[in-house]
């Protein structure tokens, strides 16, 4: 996916989020939460799009799920823990949880666990730029930019301008076969 395709996908997700929010009367209580690091640019852009369309910019939070991982004791070294920053009350809100790639679902499981420790949102929707299949948990995206099946072992990389890329892109790299 090139920069233009990424941009179109983000706009479509924003449109779909708003459509569903309007249908369910959830526009006012919308808030975005990005999962570090790849989910944050998506959350920021969705927030800007929604702000443009409604005139009200919803609050934005970030989650670092390192402390909620279920594979800590399987890894040789402890992962780097970044900041988590959720400064608004979750009660009654509709949270759009944003991540770049949806794969096994374990990150989302951890993010949901972390999110509910901050409060009890009215509902949580999941928005991802790429759904690559390969789920290991019963988790599905409410909104996804593109969907394609990527074989296990291959690597889907979303490169955002915000994280230092020259321009937005999504590339699939062939990995070592398991």
């Amino acid at each position: 996916m090139n920069a233009e395709a990424v941009e179109r996908a983000v706009q479509r997700i924003a449109h779909e989020v708003l459509e569903r929010a309007r249908a369910q009367g959830a526009v006012e209580g919308l808030a975005l939460v990005g999962i570090r690091r790849g989910g944050i640019p998506l959350a920021e852009r969705l927030r800007a799009e929604i702000g443009k369309a409604t005139g009200v910019t919803p609050p934005l939070g970030t989650l670092d799920i390192a402390l909620y991982r279920d594979d800590l004791s399987h890894r040789g070294v402890a992962p780097v823990v970044g900041p988590t920053d959720v400064r608004f009350r979750l009660e009654g809100r509709t949270i759009v949880l944003a991540d770049d790639v949806l794969y096994t679902g374990r990150t989302i499981r951890a993010a949901l666990d972390e999110l509910v420790d901050f409060g009890r949102p009215r509902r949580v929707w999941l928005a991802v730029l790429v759904d690559r299949g390969g789920r290991e948990l019963p988790i599905a995206a409410d909104f996804s930019g593109v969907r394609f099946d990527v074989p296990e072992g291959d690597d889907v990389q979303v490169r955002w301008r915000e994280n230092g890329a020259a321009e937005d892109s999504v590339v699939v790299r062939e990995g070592r076969k398991p």
Partner: protein, 317 residues
């Protein structure tokens, strides 16, 4: 693992990067303590045993809270109510506790070297919570953390450590950490309480409090460790207080306006610190206590979570 280390016995062998690894992680851990639900599941199913052969309220509670916030189970074992009083040796006690399969053993002992001895004889990670007059590494790290939080970078800062340097494990851990972060350390106290040759650790020695604290960014005040001192090293506490104690008047006249005061606790009010300084605006003593939990969370997370070699191999296989 903290860098190359499976245990935390002292900061002497720690590099600047290894110290920063703990401090950076502690910053994230501190955020957890400000959440509505102060609990994360990272160390669920891990056991932390607090093995205290010396009395302690602050350090033991701090390790206990740190373990609980990370969802580890913690067990407190204090020597007063234990079989040590029935004649059990340190090694036997440790072997028995090891049989209960803890992941981390937090040890405080009046004998310098006790945690190191245990680390060589048990299979779990060992964290020293202070041993004799050797080191108190988690305190050294939390002092670094508190100062870094206050000043941003520590490069080029000056810190004075005042009091009984000879018997202070805090002073030793500070001396093995602060200079690695770019801090110049001055030591100050009565000549009887400053070990000969301590300059070799990269500090300057002063016997005049005014000269020692002039222009410094922070002062670490130490308590006279009556419990560790056999013969009296000072005539009396009143004289000590007069020459080496800090009160509001001296602080106002001698210290830079933004200099802060640290103390590892417990404070002997009226001896090394007057109450108006201990409770005054320069004091970061309670910040130290709060930061202590965050720093100990980082230590436990790295040593209990980061897995042993056997587990790492299993994944790569």
């Amino acid at each position: 693992m903290i860098g190359r280390h499976r245990h935390l016995i002292g900061l002497e062998g720690f590099s600047r990067e290894e110290i920063l690894q703990v401090l950076d992680l502690a910053t994230s851990m501190k955020e957890v303590l400000s959440r509505p639900v102060k609990k994360v599941p990272s160390l669920r199913g891990k056991n932390v045993v607090n093995l205290f052969f010396e009395t302690s309220t602050r350090t033991r509670s701090s390790f206990e809270i740190a373990a609980k916030v990370l969802s580890a189970d913690s067990l407190n074992w204090t020597s007063a109510q234990s079989s040590t009083t029935k004649g059990e040796t340190l090694l036997d006690t440790a072997k028995n506790l090891e049989a209960m399969r803890p992941d981390v053993l937090v040890v405080r002992h009046s004998a310098s070297g006790a945690p190191n001895f245990l680390a060589r004889n048990v299979s779990c990670a060992v964290v020293s919570a202070g041993d004799g007059a050797h080191e108190h590494p988690s305190q050294g790290l939390l002092d670094c953390f508190t100062l870094r939080e206050r000043f941003g970078s520590l490069e080029g800062r000056t810190v004075a450590i005042v009091g009984d340097i000879s018997h202070s494990r805090v002073a030793r851990s500070d001396l093995h950490s602060l200079p690695k972060l770019g801090v110049k350390v001055r030591l100050c106290g009565p000549p009887t309480m400053i070990p000969q040759g301590i300059e070799q650790l990269g500090a300057t020695v002063h016997h005049d409090l005014k000269a020692a604290v002039e222009g410094v960014d922070a002062v670490v005040m130490l308590r006279i460790q009556h419990e560790r001192i056999g013969d009296p090293l000072i005539p009396n506490t009143r004289e000590y207080s007069k020459f080496w104690g800090l009160n509001a008047k001296k602080a106002a006249e001698w210290l830079k306006p933004d200099a802060v005061i640290l103390h590892p606790g417990p404070i002997n009010r009226g001896v090394e610190l007057s109450s108006d300084v201990a409770d005054g605006p320069r004091s970061v003593i309670l910040d130290q206590v709060q930061n202590g939990v965050a720093v100990r969370m980082a230590i436990l997370y790295l040593l209990a979570g980061g897995a042993g070699e056997d587990r790492a191999e299993k994944v790569s296989a």
